[in-house]
């Protein structure tokens, strides 16, 4: 018994079920996916799978649709995450003050982040539709005519939908961050007669930096996966102006059945993701060392 335990300690035995399941559903598919990306692998020609080396990757260089989707996604991530951070931080500051209705406001304001994104997409498609949507109708009464999903504007409308759904996530993390800050620096600032603005810039923001960084990266990684709003509203259009990287991979892989190419694009995506996760992990580690 004792020798058996020392040969294979409990710490590893408790890890076994997790390792077994993740090996089957995560690690094996990851390796398989890389193998697929090195082949001309079409769902319509499964008997004729040929090894092509890095061709799928090299051909991405001249693939305008792929870079267009990458560009759209970067604009989307940058726009959405910036707005969500600013709004989330503002709301967190407001809710951090002593307020009788605090818990009420907080629990309602957090609700959008729990809803399935496809429902959010369809809700806003219904709300913003040019003919039958209530928002264009109300704006029309004010004399403003907007086609939210027309050319040039659709991507920005989708950013706003993301802001509706995910500002709550920033609010959640940033409010928790504010609540855990030490009281002493703030008292010192008050004793010195510092203004609210000065305190925010010179005390709150520096102390909050690690938490903001962690929240930014988690949200950014998640925003990279945007798919449902586009599926629910524009299907990538008008033209390819709202195609995100995930939507593009879905289209190439499961509408055009070119799985090898889709797998290669996905592997490019892994590289970006992993780079960000390394930064995130470091940020979490350094946040830990704070008082």
């Amino acid at each position: 018994m004792v020798t058996q335990r020392s040969r294979f300690p409990l710490a590893y035995r408790m890890l076994l079920p997790l390792a077994a399941v993740l090996l089957a559903v995560l690690v094996y598919p990851l390796v398989f996916s890389f193998w697929i990306s090195l082949h001309d692998y079409q769902l319509t020609a499964l008997q004729d799978v040929r090894f092509v080396g890095l061709r799928n990757y090299l051909e991405l260089r001249g693939n305008g649709s792929f870079w267009n989707a990458m560009r759209n996604t970067l604009i989307f991530v940058f726009g959405a995450v910036t707005l969500e951070t600013l709004l989330g931080f503002g709301l967190a500051l407001l809710l951090h003050r002593p307020n009788r209705y605090r818990d009420f406001f907080r629990s309602i304001l957090l609700t959008p982040m729990f809803i399935t994104p496809i429902a959010v997409g369809l809700m806003f498609r219904f709300l913003l539709n040019q003919q039958l949507g209530v928002l264009p109708y109300l704006l029309g009464k004010l004399g403003v005519q907007i086609d939210f999903f027309g050319p040039g504007l659709a991507l920005y409308s989708i950013i706003l939908i993301d802001v509706w759904q995910w500002t709550p996530f920033m609010l959640l993390l940033l409010l928790a961050g504010l609540e855990s800050l030490p009281a002493a620096p703030f008292e010192a600032a008050r004793v010195d007669g510092a203004s609210a603005w000065f305190t925010l810039r010179k005390v709150t923001l520096p102390l909050m930096k690690p938490v903001i960084l962690v929240a930014l990266i988690i949200r950014g990684l998640d925003a990279f996966k945007v798919f449902e709003y586009i599926f629910a509203i524009t299907r990538g259009g008008p033209g390819e102006s709202t195609e995100s990287i995930l939507y593009h991979i879905y289209k190439v892989g499961f509408r055009f059945f070119r799985l090898g190419e889709a797998a290669a694009m996905a592997y490019i995506l892994i590289l970006i993701t992993m780079a960000l996760v390394v930064v995130l992990y470091r940020a979490m580690r350094s946040a830990e060392e704070l008082p």
Partner: protein
């Protein structure tokens, strides 16, 4: 306190409240409008100018009594429950091992976090081919397998934070009392983190319940889940929109109720024992 100071204070307080009320309105209005649409008679659904009308139960009866939506809801429920059960059974001992023995060190924790963030585009192609070969496409098994890829890491990451907070003396005492280390984990530590298990389970369930990407591609037919079924209302034909509103409400109300239970545990869970907010 001088009057001008009190006036300024009153002004800041009321403008803060005003901003919060506007935010509240922005969050609540879409819910309100979709609820209104679900109660509108068929000919009024496409009329944004009609806010007052005599409510009709037609859409609700159509969806709940005469459509497949309840069956799709059961599919979602089943997929979510099985996924969470597997995630808790495999994730709890693993999280304990990470928390207590620091098994695998930083690399292991990093891998869990990386798995949590893995873009679904990467796994969908191989999972699709795998399920195709195993003749499991359009079955709940395919969706469950896909959901495990993100629910297991999330649940494990969540639980590390909760185990970190259990004092070590607890299982040391249990071992003095004659329990083995595993018995101490199973009979003493696990019951004390019950709120964490519940929060991780509910959060994992919500993630599975909300997924459309994997479910759409792996089982978009007879065994579709609720989000895939909702996506099917895409056509926007007049008669479908009221029903779409009902289906949306059916999908989001249970999750909103669950959210009130998990909100307060969420921050600790997301930090995974790393960030002490």
């Amino acid at each position: 306190m001088n009057p001008s100071y009190r006036l300024r204070r009153l002004l800041t307080e009321s403008s803060a409240l005003l901003i919060l009320l506007v935010a509240l309105l922005v969050v609540l209005f879409p819910y309100f409008w979709i609820l209104l649409a679900s109660l509108k008679p068929v000919d009024l659904v496409s009329r944004p100018d009609v806010w007052l009308f005599s409510p009709s139960a037609f859409n609700w009866e159509e969806v709940l009594l005469r459509s497949d939506v309840p069956r799709f809801m059961l599919n979602s429920l089943m997929v979510g429950v099985v996924t969470v059960a597997v995630a808790l059974i495999t994730g709890a001992p693993a999280a304990y091992s990470f928390s207590r023995f620091n098994t695998g060190g930083g690399l292991a924790r990093f891998s869990i976090l990386a798995a949590e963030m893995m873009p679904p585009a990467v796994l969908i192609v191989p999972l699709f081919l795998l399920m195709f070969r195993l003749a499991l496409l359009d079955t709940p098994v395919a969706t469950i397998a896909a959901h495990l890829t993100f629910v297991i890491p999330v649940v494990t990451w969540f639980l590390i934070g909760f185990f970190d907070e259990v004092p070590r003396e607890l299982e040391e005492q249990a071992m003095v009392d004659g329990y083995t280390r595993f018995q101490a984990f199973y009979k003493v530590v696990l019951p004390t983190v019950r709120p964490g298990l519940a929060a991780a389970g509910i959060f994992g369930f919500v993630l599975s319940w909300n997924d459309m990407f994997y479910a759409l591609i792996l089982s978009g037919g007879r065994n579709k889940t609720l989000p895939v079924a909702i996506a099917g209302f895409w056509t926007f034909r007049g008669i479908e929109m009221g029903k779409m509103a009902v289906a949306i409400l059916v999908a989001i109300v249970p999750v909103l109720l669950a959210s009130f239970f998990v909100q307060k545990y969420l921050v600790k869970g997301l930090g995974g024992g790393a960030v002490k907010f």
